[in-house]
């Protein structure tokens, strides 16, 4: 039995509110937590089969045409089994949801750090050492420039409504500024890794990936085999942040090597390779134009974005994704421009689009607040549109105003618009900053199977992944709630393509999509129980291992004479276009800027967020904490540095790629607003994973302005940029 639901209409039944177990929306600990902290949750490269060989990639040190590879020294090295090269080796990572082999321009070298060969040996050390001895003959070739210079402006990505120039000319106040954000790397703790093993035609790959349904097809397509012959396992993933949406070079390299050697092969990228050969977020240049009347009410909005990628890549950082609907103003212009460059492939990194787009827009809004003299919180309130101002559709729900109010109250926001530089404590200049949080909400097709046993235990199965976000916890809770059993009696199995195909983790859609499939599967189980009790699913209560219908209360063991199984299948439908679905929030922070050195410290930070029904306040809060931490990094420290002469990534390790460390991150508080969004899915849940980063950096940068009067428009706001404006 499969319960299928396509979201063609809002689901206002709010069935989860009728459930009785009381475990959903509680801060359940992660069931796999003890395994993780005691080292018993094996990551991709940790379950090494007998006789496994190790592969290490050879890196292209120069851009150009690969004339030949001299691997004779490597092949002659004791312990080396083979050296794999050729067109099947993946040189570029695959984009999220690519579902086919990544773009493979040809056998040429398009960026420094591109993997060109895989040395396979009996130990990791031997493979790595031999890889250093592979000689590449690289000829000069005509390539894209390493720095973005020539931009295309694809027609379907430009939109104009009204007359922005006219609005700018007539406005009481305007902002017209250009900003930049640097490239970023996901920098997940677990490097990209895969172990491949063949059994005849059947390939098993243990890897660290976010979206197995697609990844399986990507691997199969790269190898030219039937996806049915590929089994992919990713039960635990040490962080992905977009970089594991599509496959990286490791899985295909390992599979090719395993085929050739007849032995299992493991490939793990070095930290330097993670930086060079997996997705980066494109650097962006953004021009924001704002036209407002004397009260700060917007009449016009312009947002132009310039980004880059390798030739032929379809992905283009969707910087302006949320601009069309965030604030009102009838005159609107959106532009998107892309340059083709010889740099590491650009793809999804931590909330593609809004992470950098909303951040910059919210800095511009702060500039408008200063220009108009309107308190920044109030300015945003005044510009919340009634409905999506671009496509004239209603919002499924809109919580920005509430988030602004709740956040300001919780933080203790001073709404008097204090003079910049007015508050000093010793060497430190103190300021407050705020920004709105906005992220589009999406639903993806997802399937799951749920089996309930007469003894009151249940099994949840889906090829969904838990990339450290809490998926095991929420799916466990959800099934426990729906089936009226203790969470400890639910076992959730994830990360195996033998299980029903799920949405995967990405774009914040995981909880809603995969959750909805588990919800539907549980409904199927409930229907069967209801039928056995000759009642309806709606009239059935399941609680503490008992089925309650009317005045009867019967233990499950008496109702069921065997396991009850059902599948759930959710599909996105018309609700995706009929309304504008988004998640909302607001950030507030206090920063201290050192008047001597320009160093910025965030002293405290608060975020209030609304993302539909919250399935687990603990894991949801953790997502927001993580997002805001990334926001602090984006504001102050994080920058992938490309050499301006050859485009290579200069800071290729965690010592020099500056993610925020504990001392950079102050006490952060999070409030989650109560919300039900019937348009989203039958659970009224929306995505929260990325919301915490979508604008967070702006709060910090705006705080720096208030503390010092220095407006940093090129992120990150490293001390030299602040210093330049201090006396």
């Amino acid at each position: 039995m499969t319960i299928h639901q396509k979201m063609d209409a809002p689901d206002r039944r709010n069935r989860l509110d009728d459930m009785a177990q009381g475990v959903l929306s509680t801060p359940l600990d992660r069931p796999e937590g003890p395994l993780k902290v005691s080292g018993r949750a094996p990551y991709a490269h940790e379950v090494q089969p007998e006789g496994m060989l190790h592969g290490f990639f050879v890196r292209a040190p120069r851009i150009g045409r690969l004339v030949s590879i001299d691997d004779s020294i490597a092949r002659g090295t004791a312990g080396v089994e083979t050296v794999i090269s050729g067109p099947k080796l993946i040189r570029n990572p695959a984009q999220g949801t690519a579902n086919s082999a990544p773009v493979q321009p040809d056998a040429d070298i398009y960026y420094i750090g591109q993997p060109v060969a895989l040395v396979v040996a009996d130990t990791f050390e031997t493979a790595r050492a031999a890889a250093m001895n592979v000689r590449l003959d690289i000829a000069e070739a005509d390539r894209q420039p390493v720095n973005p210079t020539d931009y295309d402006s694809p027609e379907d990505q430009q939109s104009t409504q009204g007359d922005l120039d006219g609005a700018m000319a007539e406005a009481a106040f305007t902002v017209d500024r250009t900003y930049t954000t640097p490239a970023h790397n996901s920098a997940a703790m677990e490097p990209h890794a895969a172990i491949a093993q063949w059994d005849g035609d059947k390939l098993t790959v243990r890897s660290s990936l976010q979206m197995l349904k697609y990844n399986r097809n990507e691997i199969a397509d790269s190898l030219g085999i039937d996806p049915a012959n590929v089994r992919l396992l990713s039960p635990y993933v040490g962080g992905g942040f977009g970089s594991k949406l599509g496959i990286a070079p490791d899985a295909v390299g390992a599979a090719l090597a395993a085929k050739e050697t007849g032995r299992p092969v493991g490939v793990v990228l070095s930290r330097q390779q993670v930086f060079e050969a997996t997705m980066r977020r494109s650097e962006t240049k953004q021009r924001i134009r704002l036209a407002a009347d004397a009260d700060g009410v917007l009449s016009g909005i312009g947002h132009d974005a310039w980004v880059s990628n390798l030739p032929d890549e379809a992905f283009s950082e969707p910087v302006t994704q949320a601009t069309p609907f965030t604030y009102g103003g009838v005159h609107r212009q959106i532009g998107h421009h892309i340059a083709r460059v010889s740099r590491t492939c650009a793809g999804s990194v931590r909330a593609p689009g809004e992470a950098v787009g909303i951040t910059i827009f919210e800095i511009a809004m702060d500039e408008l607040a200063r220009a108009t003299g309107v308190d920044p919180v109030e300015l945003r309130r005044r510009n919340i549109p009634e409905q999506d101002p671009t496509s004239d559709i209603p919002f499924s729900s809109h919580k920005l105003a509430e988030a602004l109010d709740d956040g300001a109250r919780t933080f203790g926001w001073d709404d008097t618009l204090p003079e910049p530089g007015g508050r000093r404590e010793g060497e430190w200049l103190i300021g407050q900053g705020m920004a709105s949080a906005v992220r589009v909400n999406a639903l993806m097709e997802s399937k799951a199977r749920v089996t309930l046993q007469p003894d009151g235990t249940a099994l949840v199965e889906t090829d969904m992944t838990d990339i450290g976000t809490g998926t095991y916890a929420i799916l466990t809770q959800l099934a426990a709630e729906m089936l009226g059993i203790d969470a400890a009696n639910v076992k959730t199995m994830l990360g195996d393509t033998d299980l029903p195909p799920a949405s995967g983790s990405g774009g914040s859609w995981g909880a809603a999509s995969s959750g909805a499939s588990v919800f539907l599967a549980c409904q199927g189980v409930r229907q069967k129980i209801a039928a056995a009790l000759e009642t309806t699913e709606e009239d059935l209560t399941l609680k503490d291992g008992r089925a309650i219908a009317g005045n009867r209360s019967i233990p499950l063991s008496e109702v069921l004479d065997g396991p009850v199984e059902s599948e759930g299948h959710i599909e996105p439908g018309d609700t995706g276009d009929a309304v504008r679905q988004a998640t909302w929030g607001a950030y507030f922070c206090e920063v201290a800027v050192n008047a001597v050195t320009g160093e910025t410290r965030v002293r405290r930070m608060h975020g209030t967020f609304a993302a539909g029904r919250i399935m687990n306040p603990k894991t949801a809060r953790s997502q927001c904490l993580g997002g805001m931490t990334f926001g602090i990094g984006m504001a102050l420290t994080e920058e992938l540095m490309h050499d301006s002469r050859d485009g290579h990534i200069v800071n290729r390790d965690l010592a020099e790629y500056h993610l925020p460390v504990n001392l950079d991150v102050p006490q952060i508080t999070v409030n989650l607003l109560e919300e039900r969004d019937p348009w989203a899915n039958p659970m009224q849940v929306k995505g929260i994973g990325e919301l915490g980063i979508c604008g967070a950096a702006a709060a910090v940068v705006n705080g720096i302005f208030q503390a010092t009067g220095v407006r940093v428009r090129d992120l990150p706001a490293t001390l030299d940029k602040v210093l330049a404006g201090l006396d």
């Binding site: 050492a129 050499d643 460390v661 950079d664 490293t718 210093l723």
Partner: protein, 320 residues
């Protein structure tokens, strides 16, 4: 990492001329993985009896294998050499400091991005190949003491404090023991940036000797790109005594700005006998920064060093 032979030294003489020394390994191993260091033979000295901190002629003798963690929390260090304790604790992370040794810290190599990337020409790694950092990413690079052949900085915090403290390095070699003041231990790059110290191949650092503590207040101020776990963009180690409203003596060393821990005695002379005013500090800073040269990406270090210098002097002399 190139395959290598491994030996464990049983005594000091067994470590001499025996191969590439490994102590905590926190720098050497990373560089071996990158192919920057390619020793044929590695000699592990961690079993040697060089882990003691002893009283020595009114000062301290610090064994070369004393860990950065242990040294930072030693009572005598905290009491008399606060600048050193602070410098150590500002470096790296707790885990790294547990492994890092006194000798290894002095000899850690530059963090220049191009030095660490074997695909880039680098005069320090491969003399004569060129300096790729010039015209490239230079945020970490030097404004003082650099040459046209190399603009790298020495990354140590500990050594900067030791430089201000007039430490010397005890070296064991085939010809016996010698003691070299830190001021003479490091050499400037000139046209041979691969030569960083006067240590001869095969020699072993056995200890660092601190003279009796100087009077006055001490501090170490490190300015960096994040609050912790980043190398210094600029750092100042200072020991300053004030008497009757004038600076009696100042010992100052600077990190993050030069190919070695930087000290300029003229700066100290310019401060001695003067009232601790902004004019005095600026005049001394003028001497410090005379000849300072930015590379583009690190130009900000020139004003940053001046500001940090003034702030440290202000802090050490205020109310004294």
């Amino acid at each position: 990492m190139k395959p290598f032979d491994y030996a464990r030294a049983q005594d000091v003489s067994g470590a001499l001329d025996a191969g590439k020394i490994i102590a905590g390994g926190t720098n050497l191993l990373d560089l071996m993985k990158l192919g920057v260091e390619t020793p044929e033979r590695v000699v592990d000295i961690t079993r040697l009896d060089l882990k003691r901190i002893e009283d020595h002629e009114g000062g301290l003798r610090i064994g070369a294998l004393v860990s950065n963690s242990d040294l930072a929390v030693d009572d005598r260090v905290r009491r008399n050499y606060e600048v050193l304790s602070r410098a150590l604790l500002s470096g790296a992370s707790g885990q790294l400091r547990n492994m890092a040794t006194t000798g290894g810290n002095l000899l850690q190599r530059t963090r220049c991005y191009y030095f660490q990337d074997v695909a880039s020409p680098c005069n320090k790694r491969e003399p004569g190949s060129g300096c790729r950092a010039k015209g490239g990413a230079t945020r970490l690079h030097a404004i003082l003491g650099a040459s046209e052949h190399c603009i790298a900085t020495h990354p140590s915090d500990m050594a900067v404090a030791m430089q201000a403290l007039d430490a010397s390095v005890e070296i064991e070699g085939a010809e016996g023991t010698r003691t070299v003041p830190l001021a003479e231990f490091y050499v400037l790059p000139g046209d041979r940036p691969d030569i960083e110290t006067v240590l001869k191949p095969g020699e072993l650092i056995t200890a660092v000797i601190l003279p009796a503590p100087l009077p006055g207040r001490q501090t170490y101020r490190k300015v960096r790109d994040r609050a912790s776990y980043a190398f210094a963009l600029v750092s100042v180690a200072g020991i300053v005594s004030v008497k009757d409203g004038v600076i009696e003596q100042a010992a100052l060393a600077f990190g993050g700005v030069a190919p070695r821990p930087w000290r300029n005695l003229e700066v100290e002379t310019a401060l001695a006998g003067r009232e601790p005013t902004r004019e005095t500090f600026d005049a001394a800073a003028d001497i410090l920064l005379a000849g300072a040269e930015g590379q583009g990406g690190n130009d900000f270090k020139i004003p940053l060093l001046r500001r940090t210098f003034r702030a440290v002097l202000g802090e050490l002399t205020q109310g004294a």
